[in-house]
Symmetry: C2
Subunit: 324 residues, 2 copies
């Protein structure tokens, strides 16, 4: 039985968003969601289970962690120990992100997907993809979507076992690119975990949830038919709905910055000019310009010309989490 | 019987917004609303009924009107002729706005309030304030709120007669100032009339309406107790709710511009620093900074320092429509 394993996972961008939980502890969401893994960006994580250790330790990008980051990983490792027979002792975790942290590309999805796969494998267990997805979800909801390959649907479910993600199409199915406009963010952000907990304070959340399944089906159908226009309409609407909930929560959460709004005005105009591009924003000010690869270079060029854009990253559809 | 009368009315800023109608034709709204008339800004309108005329004519700021502006006034004059015995013939209407049009300070409220009062008075009729308010509503929903004085509640009602506004406090009751940040707007706007008709296409509109009455009561209570903190919370929330509806309508309506968002981030911070100020936005990018008069100068100074702000106008609470 090997005691050590290393796994790699990509972050993902949601086309139909996850916002709010049925069960905060288990991170069982109020609605199903749909996403694409982001090729090129990844977290690589080595887990070493060692009976001699008296506690879990964590190194990220060569820096020993303490405080909240360590605590969240320890909590997740404890959850894995509780859920899986045969995982015992404590672990040394060494993790590396190939994309800069703190620029607003969420790393929790790729981090907890890689951590889960590495921790389970290092213990010698072989679990199904859906079980791995459920387990990753315990660390970060969206991590469940970084386990399967390509385009992924996370079934909200009604319990730990029934809330998991599965692939609906491989990465090569549709040649989409996420051109990420990294936008100045001088304002303190509220983390996603805290944000999810505030979702129910918005008078609008139940109305958003009510039609989430329909939007997901519309989005899935558009994706499977490669119908960019229908896809763009529902992706932008779903992003606007999530931010409407955020901005009407108590207290309100405003993730949009001036440059975010500027891009949200421009992108639909670019689409009317003939570019296959639409926008979506996560819990941050960065604008994800989802486009057809044939238009990705032009979109990237235009985005770079916006004065408030600090950096642009591009990522195609990526595979699921895998062992190295 | 005098054939001619001249009336003056102020625009108003809504603290609890009007968005969407029960009856589009009669402009009976889906929810009641609350506003303050804006002193200093006004529309002055002279109406001359003349049996010899074969059609209504309209001059605004010395320019003879045709097209949509004329048609809307003709439609309103026809409505007045239908609703009131003793109004006959056609009218010559000469109107003047003392604030620039096209900078995004809505002139339809003051215009239709002044037009209604002048047209009715010129015909020799003396009508109650509530009847005048109902009649003004037929021309522009928010015009109903520019008839009574000071702080005004528009009861949504269930019919033409029951949908009217009345004053809940005189202008001197609370020394509030609307510091209006006029913001660059390079994007074509969708007019309010068209916007109201799209409100029901948002999945969120019913949820917004459901608690509108509670917000109105909270706002009214805060206003009558001069409780700025409670007032600010509900005013900002109600503005965000209305814009959530707009942005999730099909097609979406985005009135916010980058500078709007910048101010929406700053104003709550200024409040936390001790300034009595909150924001509200109508169907446009301008940010109305509602503040206590003792802080109006400081707010105005700070707003002028924002690079995207083109102009700043200030207005205290104004009286209702009156004859000259």
């Amino acid at each position: 039985m090997t005691q050590e394993a290393t796994a790699r996972a990509h972050p993902n961008i949601a086309f139909i968003k996850y916002w709010g939980n049925q069960d905060e502890q288990l991170r069982i969401p109020v609605n199903s969601s749909l996403s694409m893994n982001l090729e090129g960006l990844y977290t690589e994580t080595m887990v070493n289970w060692d009976h001699r250790l008296t506690q879990d330790s964590l190194i990220i990008n060569s820096v020993e962690q303490s405080g909240d980051a360590l605590k969240r990983v320890q909590t997740h490792l404890s959850a894995l120990r509780n859920h899986i027979d045969g995982i015992e002792g404590h672990a040394k975790v060494i993790s590396y992100n190939n994309f800069p942290m703190g620029v607003g590309i969420a790393s929790s999805a790729s981090s907890f997907a890689a951590l889960t796969l590495a921790a389970v494998s290092a213990s010698g267990q072989q679990l199904s993809e859906s079980t791995l997805s459920s387990l990753a979800r315990l660390g970060s909801g969206s991590a469940s979507r970084s386990i399967p390959t390509g385009f992924v649907e996370w079934h909200k479910g009604v319990s730990h076992e029934t809330s998991y993600a599965e692939s609906i199409a491989t990465p090569d199915f549709w040649d989409l690119v996420d051109v990420i406009a990294v936008v100045s963010n001088t304002h303190k952000k509220v983390g996603s975990t805290e944000g999810h907990q505030s979702a129910n304070t918005s008078d609008l959340q139940l109305a958003r949830i009510a039609n989430a399944e329909k939007r997901l089906q519309d989005c899935k159908e558009a994706l499977l038919h490669k119908d960019f226009h229908s896809f763009a309409t529902v992706v932008e609407e779903d992003s606007n709905l999530m931010h409407s909930i955020m901005m009407t929560s108590r207290p309100p959460l405003f993730y949009w910055q001036p440059t975010s709004i500027e891009l949200m005005h421009l992108i639909p105009e670019w689409r009317h000019e003939g570019l296959d591009v639409c926008y979506t924003l996560d819990a941050g000010p960065n604008v994800h310009c989802i486009c057809n690869r044939i238009h990705a270079e032009e979109v990237s060029r235009r985005v770079r010309n916006i004065s408030g854009v600090l950096d642009v990253k591009s990522a195609g559809a990526g595979r699921g989490a895998y062992l190295l």
